[in-house]
Symmetry: C2
Amino acid sequence: MDISHTEENYLKAIFKISERDGKPASTNAISTEMNTSAASVTDMVKRLSDKALIHYERYRGVTLTELGEETATHLIRKHRLWEVFLVDKLHFSWDEVHEIAEQLEHIKSAGLVERLDEYLGFPKFDPHGDPIPDADGNFVIRKQVLLSELKREEQGVVVGVQDHTTAFLQYLDRMELVLGTPVKLLEYFDYDESMRVLINGEREQVLSKKVCQNLFVQKQ
Amino acid sequence: MDISHTEENYLKAIFKISERDGKPASTNAISTEMNTSAASVTDMVKRLSDKALIHYERYRGVTLTELGEETATHLIRKHRLWEVFLVDKLHFSWDEVHEIAEQLEHIKSAGLVERLDEYLGFPKFDPHGDPIPDADGNFVIRKQVLLSELKREEQGVVVGVQDHTTAFLQYLDRMELVLGTPVKLLEYFDYDESMRVLINGEREQVLSKKVCQNLFVQKQ
DNA sequence: ATACATTTTTAGACTAACTTAAAAAAATAT
DNA sequence: ATATTTTTTTAAGTTAGTCTAAAAATGTAT
Ligand SMILES: [Mn+2]
Ligand SMILES: [Mn+2]
Ligand SMILES: [Mn+2]
Ligand SMILES: [Mn+2]
């Protein structure tokens, strides 16, 4: 009993939603995430339940079973390792790799992921700063906060993004706010919740509320 | 109008059959190659024809249009480049890569193939000695003959295989008849059409008719 | 407690890709 | 030239995944 491309994408969506919301994934949440109708979700959810990949009770939302969670985690592992490959080896930029990895994550092969992992030097984070689960599905948890949560004069280093859109990633490239860049909060403006920050110890810049709420930093 | 995974595999099959047989691919030939029923082929062939990928006339077999041939060639390019990646970079052996490349060839991305090609150093042949078409679909044609076509005392170097099965590839590994190995025909036995050859200038070995008819060499 | 709004499910229908069985066309043999 | 065999197509049906529209269940507000 193997799992289709489509089923795999649903599992990942359910994993993502449950993690974000801390509760069972609703039909509507899944349909939004997957860009399908609610009716399609109900349909798929029955099939995933038959395959023991999720727990499903009518009108009550769904949660992943252990098998479902393993599958989802393994997919995330593959997705993020392929992203590292595309950026580190093929020199794609971080805003170009998601769509390709979305396809590559579905490649089925016994040894491929492990060999890829070794080839890449067992990276712990992907190009967007997201942790790469190990072969057993364990994530490294990093102590990180949103840039918007920094206090005046606090320092941090950019370690990840919450928003993965091309628009945001390209904006960050433009601002030279790539992963690893040190930032220090100089001033907070109550008016529009924007912040004046010192980037890389050398350049001052005002960043909007939206930007600050989508950038993860590790306090120094 | 984009082409599905399945349609792509049919195009490759049609390309392969036409090349091998030098005539339009019959419904039965395609169904054998694709492991589907003849009825499924008729069905698919209509769709491919609607998409202007093949020329199809009932009961007359099919040939690729220019668009169809371009698509097939591009797929072969991707398949073989991925095989090189798997062997050269991830250290898979040549009998393990076909199935994985069969999936990887369907990844859709604007720049991926070209970057992969560059990353691999623009290889001209895949791990089985098959030529890799360039971005315009042009193959390098190599002057090669079957080992069985060598005359007594003639020398050659192993450059490819006709049979791509795991069984044959592993047999060749066992015999140390990998690509690049020099072979010299010492003796031909009429009785069973087997041959005694000198491998790598140092070891004599009798090879069966079947082996000799599936191994390509370049005369020296 | 009832009415209204929202969410979810069901019903019915579509497409791509597949199947088997029967019919039709083409190829081969007598 | 006719009969037989082989190949191909058509017909009818299945499954995965999708949709819209309607019905049912759940949640919220007065
Ligand atoms: Mn995906
Ligand atoms: Mn990522
Ligand atoms: Mn394929
Ligand atoms: Mn090959």
